[in-house]
């Protein structure tokens, strides 16, 4: 078909009225001419007219066919359908509003989850060459150690020899005291290779980044300041470049300020090159091939694949082991692992997000089923209208298109409203996701998300419309009574409700399993008694407590005074509280194994504690003794190991009396006790190797106070403050928390997920119950006559009730059965399905996917819900007055 000339094609569309009049005139002219001709042939004028009409055929139909020839006809009819649809909605405002609201909830929830998924999983990293960045790790599987980190010589080797990595950089974090501001400050410091920020693609907002010269041995120390630190602590001083601060007895010059981009891997206050860190640049670390533990990142060259780079680095590692066998395990070199940075940041949260996506998808399905049911209910009352249109000449396809258009309109309206809802909830979503991943900052209502949501809404709408067309096949029988029950529509609605019940069952089982694992998690033995313990942070002032003796004196006095307070059953100090996740393993040297040179250094999480620590926390001493007041600067250095560490390196025999070193053999600590394991990082993880040293031999500048209270720990806050100020009126004590609070923060992630799943499952149930109630009310109203007849013939209210309930129970049990089967299938298939390396049932803790208690509880819940749903309609049914029912035809 040749395409018509443009203006001509548009004319009927733009000037429709004119075209209509013209068509009208044309046909009228024809009829007149024909009538006149017939008159000339002898017919009377009236008869001539009739005959002319008859010969012409159905005038309306012909005109409609002429209209169909117009090229823009499709859009004309679409507009008509849209206007008609809007009118239909206005005629049933309540029902339409209910449908749109239901859809809005379902689609809104989906839009919210889309945003989270897009921001966290799909959007690119905010770093320059984000997709080329990899985390590089070394493992020692033969020594049973993972992620041992790199040592400075190894880092230098890789930097100079790698052909696949454009950059290879290191990072570690230290806490130093910054002098030169109004007050001395403890600052978190990122110690990095000079090209660290270049590798990440981060340009300084002010000044310059580090240059190779900054990292040279003996170079003048320089600092890069983070954006947050610059705005919060330095008052956004525009003259900050060139200012100096004193750290670690050296003068550091500020050379740049970083932009407000998310920092990796931690948010630090300042950054310095490796040569400025006194520990890192000391020869016994910088030249020591065995001094591992540094975190490293690499940037792949443009054409290089991950596997190529991994193979090359492995080759380098093997080469290093061959050249320096004394620094490597006897079994050979270390194993290199490369992981894309994006994956490293998201893999923990991916399974949870996928689970959420599936959940909201199912909720939407249930919502759509409700709307479909509403539509079907309406359809039976629209039967007359459709039959009429059919007889006036509307094609079946045209009617179907009308219904589909209405569905799409509904979907679009619900989608727009839902998108608005989701937009309003972005802050909520970000708050939720930030507990699970650092990528939460990237969450926003992206154009892609909006597009996806709109597509979803329109698809839902189209689907709903299609469902309507399945039922709207009216026979041209205008004689059908107005209230005739469309049997097929009702049975379809029954199946819909059955499906809804099944899906609700699946969601409820899922949520139930998550809740149970959460409860199991919280019940895990953490290794210490968290009840009634208060903690607080005490950071001593650098200038006032500038010697270890002064610090020790303060803390000693603090503990003495606190122990004398009424209501305090125990007091101690520690460098880190269990379960706050703050410790990282450090390498230690074991005397007995020091001769086995080249082995991978044992790693342990070190903790400085005072006497009374184990007693206050209720940690069992398994062998030997806890720290005493006698363990001080005059007596031999001692240490206490956790059971895991002792078992690890002294599987046969005892570790008591053995000696270990924290400074490569410069000083040695004797092991005097073994204590029970304590969960440090998270309740779900295995216990880590831990080692304790007494504060009296390692006076620290800051520590966390631990107080066991006789009654309520929060009541001790005032006495603690009073005591501290009594010793030093200017010493702040901050961050009061109970151990129980810290413990529940550690389960926050699983708690949030379980909460959301539970909410969605309940929402689904609510929608399903609403649908069930609607269906039942409809059925009852349809069968008023029948019920009235039954009652007139002797049926008792009990019998009627049984009849209605019987129906409900049939549907509910069907739904439960289907749902139960579906849940089993889902959980078992999830068990064998891993999402990007993370098994989904890793989310479940201590509960089987087929946990019978959960299934039983869900079944009960659904039965109760169904019973509640039919309470109203059953009442109505039993209260039907047979006389009035039979009278109303």
């Amino acid at each position: 078909m040749r395409f018509p000339k443009f203006p001509k094609a548009l004319k009927p569309f733009l000037r429709r009225k004119e075209s209509e009049l013209e068509l009208d005139d044309e046909v009228r002219f024809h009829l007149e001419m024909e009538a006149r001709k017939l008159e000339r042939e002898g017919l009377a004028s009236g008869q001539a007219r009739l005959e002319a009409r008859r010969r012409f055929g159905g005038v309306d139909r012909v005109m409609e066919e002429c209209r169909d020839q117009r090229p823009a006809r499709f859009f004309e009819t679409l507009l008509q359908d849209l206007r008609y649809g809007l009118r239909t909605f206005r005629r049933n405002p309540v029902s339409s509003a209910a449908a749109i609201a239901t859809l809005a909830l379902g689609i809104g929830a989906n839009a919210a989850v889309f945003s989270v998924i897009y921001g966290v999983l799909l959007s690119p990293l905010p770093y320059g060459a984000g997709d080329r960045l990899v985390v590089v790790r070394q493992h020692a599987p033969t020594e049973n150690q993972e992620d041992v980190g790199f040592s400075p010589p190894e880092i230098r080797d890789v930097q100079s020899s790698s052909t696949t990595l454009q950059d290879f950089v290191e990072y570690h974090r230290m806490w130093f005291t910054l002098l030169g501001g109004d007050e001395p400050q403890r600052v978190s410091t990122g110690v990095v290779s000079h090209q660290y920020f270049q590798t990440l693609g981060i340009q300084p907002a002010m000044g310059r980044a580090f240059v190779p010269g900054d990292e040279r041995e003996g170079a003048e120390p320089v600092l890069l300041v983070s954006h947050e630190f610059w705005t919060q602590e330095l008052a956004s001083d525009p003259e900050i470049l060139g200012s100096t601060f004193e750290m670690n007895d050296r003068v550091h010059t500020v050379v740049g300020v970083l932009p407000p981009l998310p920092q990796h891997p931690h948010a630090n206050d300042v950054y310095m090159p490796t040569s400025a860190c006194p520990f890192r640049s000391a020869p016994r670390v910088a030249e020591n091939r065995v001094a591992r533990g540094y975190y490293t990142l690499g940037r792949l060259l443009p054409e290089v694949s991950l596997e190529q780079a991994r193979a090359e680095l492995q080759g380098l590692a093997d080469g290093m082991a061959a050249k320096n066998p004394e620094a490597y395990p006897p079994s050979g070199s270390l194993e290199i692992e490369l992981e894309p940075l994006h994956q490293a940041l998201t893999k923990d949260v991916k399974p949870a997000l996928m689970l959420l996506l599936v959940t909201v998808g199912l909720v939407l399905l249930i919502a759509c089923a409700n709307v479909a049911s509403l539509n079907l209910a309406q359809l039976s009352s629209r039967r007359r209208e459709l039959v009429l249109r059919r007889s006036l000449g509307a094609g079946r396809r045209r009617l179907a298109r009308q219904l589909i258009t209405e569905g799409a309109l509904l979907g679009l309206a619900g989608g727009l409203l839902g998108t608005l809802l989701a937009a309003g909830a972005v802050n909520l979503m970000t708050a939720f996701a930030s507990r699970l991943t650092v990528r939460a900052a990237e969450i926003r209502l992206d154009p892609w998300v909006i597009l996806a949501t709109l597509l979803l809404s329109i698809s839902c709408g189209l689907l709903l419309g299609l469902m309507g067309t399945l039922q709207a096949n009216p026979r041209t029988n205008l004689g059908a009574p107005q209230g005739a029950s469309p049997r097929d529509a009702t049975s379809l609605r029954r199946w819909l409700v059955l499906g809804q019940l099944a899906v609700s069952a699946v969601l409820l089982v899922g949520a139930g399993l998550m809740v149970r694992s959460l409860l199991n998690l919280r019940g895990v033995e953490a290794g210490f008694e968290a009840e009634n313990v208060l903690t607080a942070e005490v950071n001593l002032n650098w200038t006032r407590y500038d010697s270890p003796e002064k610090r020790l004196a303060f803390f000693r006095r603090l503990l003495e005074d606190l122990r004398a307070e009424p209501g305090v059953e125990g007091a101690a100090l520690t460098s880190a509280v269990p379960l706050d996740g703050s410790l990282r393993p450090r390498p230690i040297l074991i005397e007995a194994m020091a001769e086995d040179a080249g082995r991978i250094q044992p790693m342990a999480q070190p903790r400085i504690v005072t006497d009374g620590y184990f007693e206050t926390l209720g940690i069992q001493v398994l062998e030997g003794r806890p720290f005493r007041l006698g363990d001080d600067g005059e007596s031999p250095s001692v240490a206490i190991l956790s059971r895991a560490l002792a078992r690890h390196y002294w599987p046969n025999g005892t570790a008591l009396g053995q000696r270990i070193s924290f400074d490569e053999g410069a000083t040695w600590n004797t092991v005097v006790g073994i204590v029970a394991d304590v969960k440090q990082r998270s309740l779900a993880d295995e216990a880590q190797d831990e080692v304790y040293v007494p504060m009296a031999q390692n006076p620290m500048l800051s520590g966390r106070l631990l107080l066991r209270a006789a009654r309520r720990p929060l009541e001790l806050i005032r006495p603690v403050r009073r005591t501290v100020y009594g010793i030093d009126g200017e010493q702040p004590v901050v961050d009061f928390q109970t151990l129980e609070q810290i413990r529940s923060t550690s389960t926050e992630g699983p708690r949030l997920v379980a909460l959301l799943l539970g909410l969605f499952a309940l929402l689904a149930l609510l929608i399903t119950v609403a649908g069930l109630t609607g269906l039942l009310a409809f059925t009852v109203s349809q069968r008023v006559r029948e019920i009235g007849l039954r009652m007139a013939l002797g049926a008792t209210p009990g019998g009627v009730r049984r009849m209605v309930l019987g129906q409900v129970m049939a549907i509910t049990s069907g739904g439960l059965l289907l749902g139960g089967l579906a849940s089993l299938v889902a959980s078992y298939s999830l068990e064998s399905y891993s999402l990007g390396g993370q098994e989904l049932t890793g989310q479940l803790f201590g509960v089987e996917p087929h946990d019978p208690a959960t299934f039983a509880a869900v079944g009960l819940l659904l039965l109760i819900a169904a019973a509640l749903a039919c309470w109203g309609p059953v009442r109505r049914a039993t209260h039907i007055d047979p006389m009035s029912a039979l009278r109303n035809d």
């Binding site: 040749r2 001509k8 044309e26 002219f29 024809h30 006149r36 010969r55 020839q69 090229p71």
Partner: protein, 115 residues
């Protein structure tokens, strides 16, 4: 859409054939819809009775395809009527369709004449 049979005609016309007849009629002279149907009847000596119901959809279709042009003018009895005329593209189309028709009828004739 095929023609609707409301009044039985002496000969059933296929849509393509109707188009051909319309184009030819307009090639002879411009006309309005009614005139076209009368003309076809007249020239074919009453054999071809155009189904009036299918005439106007055909005219509109041909107009959209660009083979005929329409203009409002005055008819013989001073009434306003829509006059159609052939366009250059329509003329080309007419030649093509005529050739096709001749080929078709020749072929049918050969089959019928086969012994």
């Amino acid at each position: 859409m095929g023609p609707r049979k409301t009044v039985p005609t002496k000969a059933d016309l296929l849509q393509g054939t109707l188009d051909l007849l319309i184009l030819k009629t307009l090639a002879l002279e411009s006309n309005h819809g009614w005139g076209i149907s009368q003309r076809i009847q007249q020239i074919s000596k009453e054999v071809l009775q155009v189904n009036q119901g299918s005439l106007y959809p055909a005219l509109h279709r041909l107009e959209n395809q660009g083979w005929i042009d329409a203009e409002w003018g005055q008819s013989e009895n001073r009434r306003r009527a829509k006059f159609y005329k052939l366009t250059p593209e329509g003329r080309l189309q007419l030649e093509k369709e005529t050739a096709n028709w001749k080929r078709l009828t020749a072929a049918v004739g050969r089959v019928l004449a086969a012994v």
